[in-house]
């Protein structure tokens, strides 16, 4: 997904490459701050970001304006059952097959909270560096719509389960990279609504309540993002986080991760926010980035034409086909949701033990992984790639545990393994190659047992059929001895070297006169003599000694 997204950005907003210098400097500055974590640094960082933001806005296509972007993200939790009843939820089920009187809002039914929802909310709250409300409560949010069975949504209003956190993001290297910290305002628990299926003619609509009552976590960000790229990276990081935590599949196409983006534009130096516009209907990070950049341009244009009064507080839909946002509905004043405490549910009280246990059980999160990989001297590109997917990261980490060299393991994973996955449309968890065998393979090449070329062949065998490096080497040895059998015996190689040196006295003389490039020529001759079976490492070592005439 990340790759598609990057291409999209290249096509749409060339200015990022120009701003890379600025972004990079900020990355350095941020890095030093993040090394010491804590509330204090979070604040200074935020200030720093705000100070830096105008630099960005000086770029030509924002014409002295800056964009303020805040995001509301709905994460659908993959609990076994819905938030308040025991119905399962499976995306794509036949309409109205995973419903019961409770999630249909039948008279007399009552919600009973699924404790997994609280557990997942606490995990996400901790992962987002939030403060937790040890006592929070549910509230009812009222509105009428046919996909809302009870006429109210059970949500959290004034006491959300988690507040005041932040998330660290690394921007892609191809756009200059950079580290950002975005504030998280709150995380709260709520239930999803059903879906309306509108008929082709528009003459009727059908209600599917399968999704009604599915648990959601709503994450509200601070208005800290300044561009489509930043917003998309924020969302991508949320996706990584929920996947690493194992609380959601984070799938945007299925609607398991939905982002509503608020965009406003103001002249640089003005402290008051401009009129904010909400954008919906973006089902990829790429679309998000493009939609926001389009919306920024639209608002900047109106501002520069002196028509800022034509920017309305409204909800606009992103149309992928047109690559534009369109008005969906204008807001007629503030909606009054008549929130009041949900009387059917007791307060949610967290105990210190419960939170501590979850805290200890948290996996290593993307940010920590990236910082750890960075310390292994991997290139930032590699760091971002490996830490992007928790399964890939797990595979990588497991190979390292078996002693694989980080750089080599990264190369194999990012190169041949990921090419294979892409071709076969598989995930890294579905292949037969185990991290242990990858580390064996790397070790075998490193110690010269096999050549890189042979290693590649073995890799594809391992990927497709499984097995062990050891047995494959032995198997190949028997079946195709001529192809892969290697001469590793130094005495045998020495004999071959002597033979070649004796046959080429003229070249030997030139070499000893200083033309050391000729080592390659001799190596080739020896290899030819061995019919390609000489171990290159041993060969070069012996050849070097012999050429210098040291023995």
């Amino acid at each position: 997904m990340a790759l598609i997204f990057h291409r999209g950005i290249i096509a749409n907003s060339q200015f990022f490459s120009r701003s890379s210098g600025v972004l990079f400097r900020r990355l350095r500055a941020s890095r030093s701050c993040t090394s010491a974590r804590g509330e204090g640094t979070a604040n200074t960082l935020k200030e720093e970001l705000i100070q830096v933001a105008p630099k960005r806005a000086l770029e030509p296509n924002t014409h002295g304006f800056e964009a303020i972007i805040g995001i509301e993200t709905h994460v659908q939790l993959f609990t076994l059952t819905k938030a308040f009843c025991s119905c399962p939820y499976v995306y794509g089920s036949r309409p109205n097959t995973t419903i019961c009187p409770v999630c249909m809002g039948h008279p007399g039914t009552l919600p009973v909270l699924n404790s997994k929802v609280v557990e997942f909310a606490v995990k996400l709250g901790l992962a987002l560096n939030c403060g937790l409300s040890m006592t929070s409560k549910f509230d009812r949010k009222h509105y009428f719509y046919p996909d809302l069975p009870k006429g109210y949504q059970i949500s959290q209003f004034d006491i959300p389960i988690a507040t005041k956190g932040f998330i660290d993001v690394d921007l892609p290297v191809e756009f200059g990279g950079g580290h950002r910290r975005f504030g998280i305002t709150r995380v709260h628990m709520e239930e999803d609504a059903g879906k309306l299926l509108h008929s082709e003619t528009g003459s009727y609509s059908q209600v599917d309540l399968n999704r009604a009552g599915v648990p959601l976590l709503e994450i509200v960000s601070e208005p800290d993002m300044r561009s489509g790229l930043e917003a998309a990276e924020y969302a991508a990081e949320i996706q990584r986080l929920v996947r690493f935590l194992g609380i959601s599949n984070g799938n945007m196409q299925e609607g398991s991760l939905r982002c509503d983006v608020n965009v406003s534009v103001r002249p640089i130096g003005q402290s008051k926010f401009g009129t904010k516009v909400e954008i919906k209907n973006m089902n990829s990070f790429s679309a998000m980035s493009r939609a926001i950049d389009y919306e920024i341009s639209r608002q900047v244009l109106l501002h520069s034409l002196g028509q800022s009064d034509q920017i309305f507080q409204e909800t606009r839909l992103w149309e992928e086909g047109a690559q534009k946002t369109f008005t969906m509905r204008k807001k007629e004043g503030l909606a009054d949701y008549r929130y009041f405490p949900e009387p059917d549910l007791p307060e949610v009280v967290l105990t210190k033990e419960f939170v501590d246990k979850l805290c200890q059980g948290l996996p290593e999160l993307p940010e920590a992984k990236r910082r750890r990989y960075e310390k292994m001297d991997l290139a930032m590109q590699d760091v971002l790639f490996l830490a992007n997917d928790n399964h890939v990261a797990e595979f990588f980490d497991a190979s390292l545990e078996n002693g694989a060299d980080p750089k080599l393991a990264a190369n194999w994973i990012m190169g041949d393994i990921s090419a294979f996955l892409k071709n076969e449309r598989l995930s890294i968890t579905e292949i037969k190659l185990t991290p242990f065998e990858l580390s064996e393979l790397i070790a075998s090449i490193k110690n010269g047992t096999i050549s890189g070329k042979i290693g590649k062949e073995i890799l594809f065998e391992l990927l497709a059929k499984g097995g062990t490096v050891q047995s494959l080497i032995e198997e190949k040895d028997l079946v195709q001895a001529s192809l892969i059998f290697l001469i590793v015996d130094p005495a045998a190689i020495e004999a071959l070297v002597d033979k070649v040196l004796a046959a080429n006295p003229k070249q030997l003389e030139q070499y000893r006169a200083g033309k050391t490039r000729l080592q390659g020529f001799f190596a080739g001759q020896v290899m030819k003599e061995s019919k390609g079976k000489a171990n290159p490492l041993v060969l070069n070592k012996i050849l070097g000694v012999k050429l210098k005439g040291e023995s």
Partner: protein, 559 residues
């Protein structure tokens, strides 16, 4: 009731005639401020009992002196002894129901399978298998309590014909105990009203005087028990909807502690106040029903995990209680409930009841609950607010009546305009207003603060007193139509009961006397309020009170 242990002839008489508790008119007069009406009611009975006391060897012939007995236990006894079949019992009740229903109209739906279910019980009896505690007992269920496959409308046109796919937990438990649901009883729409005049379908009459209301909102359930159309019944109590009709119809009404009985399957009116309660002709019957329906329910997170004692078993032993069985009991009479605006007949009945408690050994003290008068407005704000939310689901989209229109807003508007009655609409409007931005703090939040005050004042009072007593209603049953156009007067009738819901406490209403009206007088109920989960205590006191109350027979003239 099982026969008491026979120790001496006088003991035997003690439980049947309650003679040791009888006080002659001479001693009673100076103590109580009885109205002439009350005395007149006494006269014949008093003389009969006086005659008895002079000659204890003569068995009582006058039925007025028989204390209410448990219909549930007597049915059980007849089934076990094979004296009667469940089908006989069911037939008797169904005959009476058919005879009285045209006058009383307590049922919105009468089950067609009652006889078949009774025969099933008889097969069980024949097979010698264990019988549930309510085997063969016919139960009326208020129409806002869901019954699988039986219409459940909550008294509202918007749910006309709606049959829930599940039984309410309380109904499931009743059925598991062997009870037979005889039908669904009439009520004010969604519980909003005090007369059943707010029903979307019909008005129930009071069996004591069919020109009068039975009370509400559980008027159908109270009238049905009073008229012996069923043995016991379930009601619901949000602001007095069990206790007020119990008082009007002369039956025992029990409002348990909030959370004692699962609300799962009870159509929500005001979720933080709603409680399922029950009606019976005696305290024992109410206790047996409470026993069956109480307990934690995993489908209701507000249901309590508090242990359920056997509410009924210890009541049996009171058959041989002391002459002052309530000795040491501290009873607080709530001063605010026996003053202005309360019918004088009601006040004197309650004072007489207090005297009776005193005679049983209790000490009566007047206590003041300063926040009492705040309860009514706080209740109406909170209940309406919650109702405006709870009733949002009646939109015609998934079930119930839907208006035939082309456009979404009209679908909502017309379905609700056609389906909901005027009282319900008024409360939805009030509640919507109270929850609106800008008004929330002034109404909802403030009412919650009042609620906290009320809770505290009850808690304080119940730390000093074992129970508190008051009238259940400031007046006896009034005429049908009398208060239809005066909602405030109707709301004022809830003054005695709403505070108890706001505090979430249990309360028991036991018939205690009569005031003038109708052909045979109109019953008055005494409300006893206890601390949370003190139902056991309330039932014990109520049972002793009822079994020792002289000279009253709460059987309506209709029968």
């Amino acid at each position: 009731m099982p026969p008491p242990p026979v120790r001496s002839p006088s003991r035997l008489l003690l439980c049947h005639c309650r003679l040791p508790f009888h006080i002659s008119p001479q001693t009673r007069l100076p103590l109580s401020h009885n109205s002439s009406v009350r005395r007149r009611f006494h006269c014949s009975a008093v003389s009969a009992v006086s005659a008895l006391s002079s000659d204890p060897q003569i068995a009582p012939t006058d039925l007025t002196t028989t204390p209410p007995s448990s219909h549930i236990l007597s049915i059980r006894e007849s089934l076990l002894s094979r004296r009667r079949t469940a089908a006989d019992v069911a037939g008797e009740y169904l005959d009476r129901l058919r005879r009285t229903e045209p006058h009383i109209r307590s049922f919105l739906h009468v089950s067609e399978t009652t006889m078949r279910e009774a025969e099933e019980v008889d097969r069980l009896v024949a097979s010698g298998k264990d019988l549930g505690p309510l085997a063969g007992v016919l139960v009326g269920v208020k129409d806002n309590i869901c019954t699988a496959g039986m219409p459940s409308t909550g008294g509202s046109r918007i749910l006309e014909g709606y049959r829930p796919p599940f039984d309410a937990t309380a109904v499931r438990k009743l059925k598991e105990a062997g009870a037979i649901v005889i039908g669904k009883t009439n009520m004010d729409e969604f519980g909003m009203g005090s007369t059943t005049e707010g029903s979307g379908f019909q008005v129930t009459a009071n069996p004591w005087d069919i020109s009068r209301v039975p009370g509400g909102s559980s008027g159908g359930s109270a009238a049905a028990v009073s008229a012996k159309q069923c043995v016991v019944s379930l009601g619901s109590d949000t602001g007095g909807s069990v206790r007020q009709p119990a008082s009007f119809c002369g039956v025992v009404g029990l409002k348990p502690t909030y959370g004692r009985v699962s609300r799962f399957g009870l159509m929500a009116y005001a979720s933080s106040l709603d409680v399922i309660g029950c009606f019976g002709a005696s305290v024992i019957d109410s206790a047996i029903v409470l026993n069956v329906v109480s307990g934690h329910d995993r489908f209701d997170s507000t249901s309590s995990t508090h242990e359920v004692p056997d509410y009924a078993s210890f009541l049996m032993s009171t058959d041989h209680f002391e002459s002052t069985p309530l000795k040491g009991l501290k009873v607080g009479m709530i001063r605010e409930t026996i003053g202005d605006g309360v019918d004088v007949g009601v006040i004197s009945s309650i004072k007489a009841a207090a005297l009776h408690l005193e005679e049983l050994g209790a000490t009566i003290t007047e206590v003041s609950l300063p926040s009492f008068s705040l309860g009514l407005p706080a209740y109406y704000v909170l209940a309406s607010s919650e109702a405006s939310s709870n009733l949002s689901r009646y939109d015609g989209v998934r079930y119930g009546n839907r208006a035939t229109v082309d456009e979404l807003n009209s679908l909502y508007g017309d379905s609700r305009a056609d389906g909901l009655g005027p009282e319900v609409k008024m409360r939805i409007l009030m509640g919507t207003y109270a929850l609106s931005a800008g008004y929330y703090d002034a109404y909802y939040k403030r009412a919650q603060q009042v609620r906290t005050l009320i809770r505290k004042s009850f808690k304080d009072a119940l730390e000093k007193m074992d129970i508190l007593v008051s009238p259940a209603v400031p007046s006896p049953a009034y005429k049908i139509g009398e208060k239809v156009n005066d909602p405030l007067a109707m709301y004022a009738g809830d003054i005695m009961t709403v505070n108890v819901n706001l505090a979430g406490l249990p309360a028991l209403v036991v018939p205690c006397g009569f005031v003038e009206g109708g052909s045979a007088g109109l019953p008055v109920g005494l409300q006893m309020i206890g601390s949370s989960f003190s139902e056991e205590k309330l039932l014990r006191i109520g049972h002793i009170f009822e079994q020792t109350l002289p000279n009253y027979r709460f059987v309506p003239p209709l029968l």
